[in-house]
Every structure is written in C-alpha cells, then in structure tokens.
C-alpha cells in the first residue's frame, strides 16, 4: 500500500515537473515574441501620424458603452473624462444598470438630460429599458436607464442601441487616455478583417489624476498594489503581446476593448450567465467566425491605455482573482470543443490548450504539488538538495520573467519615469516569489472550486476612487 502511494507521488512529481516546464516555456516564448512584436509596433507607430489620423474622415465612428452600477460618487467625473477623448466621431452610451443609489440623478443634473427617441438597431435579449436620455450640453452623450441585470446585460443594451460600426466596451470607472481610441482603432484601419482589439490596462493607484487624466505615473505605496503593477506589465506586455504576435489573442479585458458591432450581434452579444463575459465573448467570436468560415482577426494593441484602480486589500484581491478564475473556467469549459481542434486555427491549437491545460487546470496541479511537498516534508521523505534546486529554478525563472516585462516596458513605453520606480519593480520581481505567487495560486485554486460548485455573482468590490487618490497625492 505504502509502495503504491509512493509510486503515485512519483508519477505526480512528473506531472508537476512537466507542467512547470511547459508553463514557463510558454511564458519565456511569449516574452521573446513580445520583444520582436513591440519593436515592430514602435516602428508602425512612428510611421502612422496620429495627428493626421485624428482629423481623418476615414476613422470609423465609435460608441463607448460604459455600464454603471451604483457609481454615484464617480459617474460624473468619469463621463467628463470620456467627453475629452480625442477622436473625430464618437458617442458615449452610459448604461445605468438599475443603480440603487443616485447615479441617474447625478447624471441627469450634471449633463442636463432629457428623454429622447432612439431606436435599437439589434435585438439581443436584455432586462427592460426604463428610459433613453440625451444630454442637452453634449449631443454625443446618451444615458440608457434599465432594470438591473449585471454588467453583461448592460453591455448588451449598449450594443442594441449602438449605431456605429464599432463599439468600445469599458468599465465606467476606468480612465481612458485621451488618445486611447485613436490608437486602439489602428488595427481596424490596417486590417479590414479585424473584429476586436484590446488595449492595455494599467494600475492608477498611486498616480496623480487630474480632470479625469493620469498626469503623473508613480508606483503605488500599497505593497499588494505594487505587486499588481508588475503582474499587469507581465500579463499585458509579455503575455498578450506575445500571443498577439502568434495571432492567437484569446482574451480582451472587459475594462477596455473595441469590437465590430455586427460581428458581436451575430455572435449573440455578451453571455449573461458567466462572470467572465469578456473572455467568453472573445472565445465565442473565435468559435463562431471559424465555424462560419469567415476570415477574421483579433488583436491586442499595447499602447492605448485604460487606467484602472486595483484592490489594495487581500480580501478584495482574493475575491477578484476568484472571479477571474471562475470566468476563465466557465469560458473554457463552455467552448471545450475548441481544445486542440484544427478547425479553430491557432486559437484552437495554441492559445486554447495553453489556457485550458496550464491556466485553468494549473492551479489544481500547483496546489496538489504543494500538498505532496509538505506531506513528504512531514514524513521526512524529501530529497533536500533536489527540492532546493527545483525551488531555485522556479524563483530565478520568476525573476527573469518579471525583469523581462520591465525591460519590455522600458523598451516601449517607459511609463515609470522615476529611476527609483524602476529599481522597485526589479525588487518586486524577486519579492513576489515569496508569498504573493503562492497566494495567487491559492486564490486561483479556490476560483476553480467555486466554478465547480456553481458559485455565481461578482463578490463585493470596494474602490477608493481616483479623485480621492489624486487629492491625497496633491496634498503631499
């Protein structure tokens, strides 16, 4: 019996080792692809005169769809920020998702809203619409008031009322940089097959925000927020840029993505029965367009920035990661037919297996690996030199990947101008291996369990708000 148990442990050790090698090989590969891709991107941007593009009548009109639920303290400031975007022709559709606070009143007062006629152009099923309003001060600002139905439902209402070829899905509390739209629309100009493009999310905690724009980029003071800065750099500049270079983008962040309206309507809009509606939509676009035999492309664009506030407490962070993992789990299991299926091209053969086997199932393997390790440790059956060496590889590889993400940032956008911030990013790359990574693995494991148990809902998310952050910084 004992013999059998140790045979099982041996086999499991092999599984962990193979998982580890595969996962990190993919991370390294995407990082290297990202280096080339970012260089090419910088070249393209130098050759594409943004000022000329801004005045070009060829830039397609865009509708910004901003769902708002209980955003009373920040909604007016967020909408004002959207009104200052540099783009030739855009509409703002704020969707009040049955807020229980005074969000609607604040918007009505601030923008002088009046009831206006507007016919839907699509018929995706949603909760009931209570009213359609337009601003007297800003004719391109509309507010769609509806019964509560969740973010995906609110986005679907925005899509139903969208009458431009493209729409931009975003969080009402994200801050888009002024040139974000003109930058993110580039793939739609250069490649008519483009159906979706995602921008980069950056952490606004610690930055100085004035009039809805990030004016001074700084690392946050909170350690958990600092870890997330590094994590976002790695995820977007190494991960998504690398996957884009492989033409296999499977994720577009719900906080900032732009889509061709007709393609999304044809695919049925956002799914309202998942907490990962952003990833699910992109996976479904891959699936439906491939099945229909339509040529298409989906891109990640690294410099249109949406600034977002990240959680600063472990409690909220754990709920966020739990939700992300549940979303990933639901999206991938729903479309598991794509796994290693040639019919879905690179998405099915490369990206889907990576997310399914390594990102989705990985937390199980990691968690059982830790259990096996501590079990063996307690039983005194650990080969210490081997374990130390293995952990050494894991830590040094983690550091190398993090430092490479900082290098990519420095190579491309240099958003952190202070030398001290650069040094802190390096140090965070070392520190995160001792505690933060393990916590992340645990949260993701719990997220998988929640998904298997059929847990629904987003969990309570509390935000400090940019305005307060800016005020604090200004007082310094």
């Amino acid at each position: 019996m004992v013999e059998l148990f140790w045979s099982f442990v041996t086999v499991f050790n092999w599984v962990v080792l193979i998982y580890f090698v595969l996962l990190n090989s993919v991370y390294l590969a995407t990082s290297f692809f990202a280096f080339g891709a970012l260089r090419r991107y910088a070249l393209r941007m130098k050759s594409l005169d943004l000022d000329e593009l801004i005045v070009s009548a060829g830039a397609p009109p865009i509708s910004l769809v901003a769902p708002a639920y209980n955003e009373e303290p920040t909604c007016v400031e967020s909408v004002r920020s959207l009104l200052t975007l540099e783009y030739p022709e855009y509409e703002i559709l704020v969707v009040n998702d049955g807020s229980k606070d005074a969000t609607m009143d604040r918007l009505r007062e601030a923008f002088n809203l009046y009831p206006a006629a507007r016919m839907p152009t699509a018929a995706i099923h949603t909760e009931a619409i209570r009213g359609v309003y337009r601003s007297r001060r800003h004719p391109n600002l509309w507010v769609l008031d509806k019964e509560n139905g969740g973010k995906a439902d609110a986005l679907n209402v925005g899509i139903n009322f969208c009458r431009t070829p493209l729409f931009c899905a975003m969080d009402a509390d994200s801050l888009l940089e002024r040139q974000a739209l003109i930058r993110i629309v580039r793939p739609f100009l250069e490649d008519a097959k483009t159906v979706a493009a995602g921008g980069i999310l950056r952490i606004a905690n610690g930055c100085v925000v004035r009039q809805g724009q990030v004016e001074d980029v700084r690392l946050p003071k909170n350690i958990w927020a600092q870890f997330q800065v590094l994590e976002y750099l790695r995820a977007f500049l190494s991960g998504r840029m690398g996957w884009d270079a492989l033409d296999a983008t499977l994720v577009i962040s719900g906080a900032f993505g732009i889509f061709r309206r007709d393609a999304v309507v044809e695919a049925g809009g956002y799914a309202t029965d998942t907490v990962g509606e952003d990833m699910e939509l992109v996976v479904r676009l891959h699936r439906t367009l491939s099945e229909a035999g339509k040529p298409y492309s989906i891109h990640f664009v690294p410099d249109p920035v949406a600034w977002t506030e990240c959680p600063e407490s472990l409690d909220i962070l754990s709920r966020q990661r739990d939700r992300w993992q549940r979303g990933l789990f639901q999206s991938l299991t729903r479309h598991r037919v794509m796994l290693l299926n040639r019919r879905y091209g690179k998405a099915g053969l490369l990206a889907f297996p990576y997310f399914f086997l390594l990102e989705m199932l990985g937390p199980f393997i990691e968690a059982f690996g830790y259990v096996a390790f501590f079990g063996a440790l307690i039983l005194g059956r650990v080969d210490t030199p081997f374990v130390v060496a293995f952990l050494g590889v894991a830590v040094v590889l983690g550091v190398a990947l993090s430092v490479s993400a900082v290098a990519l940032e420095e190579l491309s956008f240099r958003r952190y101008p202070r030398f001290s911030d650069l040094v802190r990013l390096f140090l965070l790359g070392i520190a995160e291996n001792f505690g933060y990574r393990q916590l992340n693995a645990w949260w993701r494991f719990k997220g998988n369990i929640s998904a298997l148990r059929g847990v629904e809902g987003w969990g309570k998310m509390t935000r400090k708000g940019f305005t307060l952050e800016a005020a604090e910084e200004d007082d310094d």
Binding site: W6, V9, T10, N13, W14, L17, L43, R44, K46, S47, D49, D51, E52, S56, A57, G58, A59, P60, A116, A117, R118, M119, P120, T121, A122, R134, P139, R163, F188, L189, E190, D191, A192, K193, A376, R381, V382, D383, P385, F386, A389, F390, G392, V393, V396, L397, V399, A400, V403, S404, V406, A407, E410, L411, R414, F419, L422, F426
Partner: protein
C-alpha cells in the same frame, strides 16, 4: 525519497541535479542580462532625450524666425552642424506635421539641402529605415523626390508601400492620384473608408482619376468602391452618370452601395429609375443606400415606397428610409408616425430629433 522514480544517489538523479543547477545559472544570467538591458535602455533614452533637447533649443528660435521671415533661413543652416543633419531633418519633420500651407513650404525648403542621404536609405534592407526615409521624403521632399515615393509604392513591405501612398496622397497633390490608384489593389486589407478618405484628401483635382477607377470594369470591385467612396466625399457632380451606370449594371453589393451613396449627393432626376430598382435588393446595405438616394430625388409616387420601407426587417434599412422620407419632404408623415403606435414610431421620433439637431 526517490526523486521522480530515480534512486537516491544514482547517476540519473545526480545528472538531473546538475542539470537543475545549470538551469539556475543560465536563468540567473538571463535575469541579470534583462536587468542590465533595462538599465542600458534607461540611460540610452535619457542621453538621447538630453541631446535632443539641446538640439531643439538650438534650432527652435531660428526656425520660428524663418517661419515669420523666410529671408532669415541662413541662420537656421548655420546652426545645423554636419553630424546632426539628419537630426535636423527629424526636427523639421515633427514641425511640418503641425503646420500647413506656406509654413510647411518654408520648412520643406529648410530641410531640402539635407534630404539626399534619405534616397539611399529608402533602399535600405531594414524595413524600419526604409519606412522612415519614405515617410520623411513624403512630408518634406516633394516634388523633388517623387520618383522615390512612386518606386516605394511597389516596395515588398506593405508598410513602406502604405507610407509612400500616404505621402503622395496629400492635400493639393492630385497629380499623384493615378500613381496611387494604379496600386490601390495592394491595400485591399486596409479599411475602405480609410483609403477613400486618404484619396479624397488630394482634393477635387483627383476626381478624373477616381472616376476612371470607378468606371473601370477591369479593376476589382473593392478598388472601384473605394473610388466611389472618395468621389462621395468630394461630392463630385460629374460622377453622377457614371454612378448610375454602375448601379444599373453591376452586382457586387459593396460596389453598388458605394455608387448609390454617391448618388445621394450627386444624383439627378434621370437616375431615379435605376435607383428604384435597387430599393428591392436582397442586400440590406444596397437597399439602405438606394432608399436614401431615392429620398433625395423622390417624386410624389415614391413616398409610399419610402413609407413602406420603414417596416423593413433590417433596422438599418428602416433608418435610411426614414431619413430618405424626411429628405423627400415627408416631415408631417413622420410626425404623425412618431405620435402613433406604429412599430417604428421611435425611429420617426429619432429622425425628427436628428433633423432638429
């Protein structure tokens, strides 16, 4: 404990351990290399920025003086040392993008003596170098270096070709329209409205070449549709008959939609018959533009057709029909509709609201 099934103390275990240690060493080197590279990039960037600021401060004042009084151009040239000539060209390029007309011409004259090395760079094996050279010559070097840009339209890199096309397709450079249009098929991947906008940017002088492209049955429908879109932006009245002919004879939906849209701004009463036929097209975009064009030319008999199209299953067709109805003088009909319980009552209200601004 046996590690991965290999006996403790065995040769395989020892080899694996050695391998792991070697991997740690290699990864450590990689991490250090990335770190050093990052620091190198930071210092290099700061040095470049500092040097660029120095150069800018040296050139800015004489350049502004030269823009106010071109006679002072010599003072600018005196400030350009030989090693920094291409930097000066870059400086001029950035300024030239922000100005137009006479000011841009002055900057072009200032940069002119330093552009010759870019001709060779436009042939460089590195795509980045070629792109920058072609872009710079397109902004500062025309008409002197037009040959370089025309050659670049056939560059193997689509990016270089597009940069050349954009360089040639500038305001009041209609003489280059035939060259760009001849290669338009290369850019089929690009967005059609974007390409049309680029061509229309050349101004009314490009219209004859655009008309030729629209009417040329040998060209692919995409190119003809782009030409039609550009003529629509230019509101080119002489293109009316040609557009009507396209509407009458062609079947490609994108081309038909483009020609019909052109007829919404340049159509004449004699075109109305071909437009009416397309109001029943199975393609929604063709129906939409046909109804819109019909609205601009409609006779009394056409009002019921427009009214009926409000109930089209496609909301887009209905929107165009409502706008067409408004243009055909059906405002009162729309008002009645907006006050009724007609399924398109909201649409009628919406179009009236749009009209009111």
């Amino acid at each position: 404990m046996d590690v991965l099934g290999f006996p403790a103390g065995g040769a395989v275990r020892e080899s694996m351990l050695a391998l792991l240690i070697a991997v740690i060493g290699a990864l450590l080197l990689l991490a250090v290399a990335f770190g050093l590279y990052t620091l190198f990039l930071r210092f290099q960037h700061e040095r470049r920025e500092s040097r660029w600021r120095d150069l800018e401060s040296r050139w800015q004042e004489p350049l502004l003086l030269a823009l106010a009084d071109p006679e002072t151009a010599d003072a600018v040239h005196d400030a350009v040392d030989e090693p920094y000539r291409l930097h000066f060209v870059r400086f001029c390029l950035e300024y030239a993008r922000r100005v137009r007309g006479e000011e841009r011409e002055t900057i072009k004259r200032l940069a002119g003596p330093y552009l010759e090395p870019l001709v060779e760079r436009a042939q460089h094996r590195d795509v980045g170098v070629r792109t920058r050279a072609v872009q710079t010559l397109g902004t500062l070097g025309l008409p002197t270096y037009v040959g370089v840009l025309v050659d670049a339209l056939d560059d193997e890199s689509p990016l270089v070709a597009m940069v050349a096309a954009r360089g040639l397709a500038r305001e009041d450079q209609a003489e280059f329209a035939p060259e760009v249009l001849a290669r338009l098929g290369r850019f089929e991947e690009w967005s059609r409205p974007f390409m049309a906008s680029m061509l229309a940017n050349m101004g009314p002088g490009s219209a004859p070449a655009l008309r030729t492209a629209l009417g040329d049955g040998e060209r692919i429908p995409w190119v003809r549709a782009v030409a039609g879109d550009a003529l629509w932006i230019l509101k080119d009245l002489p293109a009316g008959d040609l557009a009507a002919k396209v509407v009458e004879l062609e079947e490609d939906p994108a081309l038909l939609a483009s020609a019909l849209r052109l007829l919404t701004v340049v159509g004449r009463p004699e075109h109305i018959d071909v437009i009416r036929v397309r109001c029943a097209s199975p393609d929604a975009s063709v129906r939409s533009y046909a109804l819109r064009a019909l609205g601009t030319l409609a006779e009394e008999d056409d009002v019921p057709r427009l009214l009926g199209a409000l109930s089209d299953p496609s909301p887009w067709v209905a929107i165009h029909a409502a706008r067409g109805l408004l243009e055909a003088g059906g405002e009162l009909l729309l008002r009645d509709l907006a006050d009724s319980d007609h399924p398109r009552a909201i649409l009628a209200g919406q179009v009236l609201l749009e009209e009111a601004g």
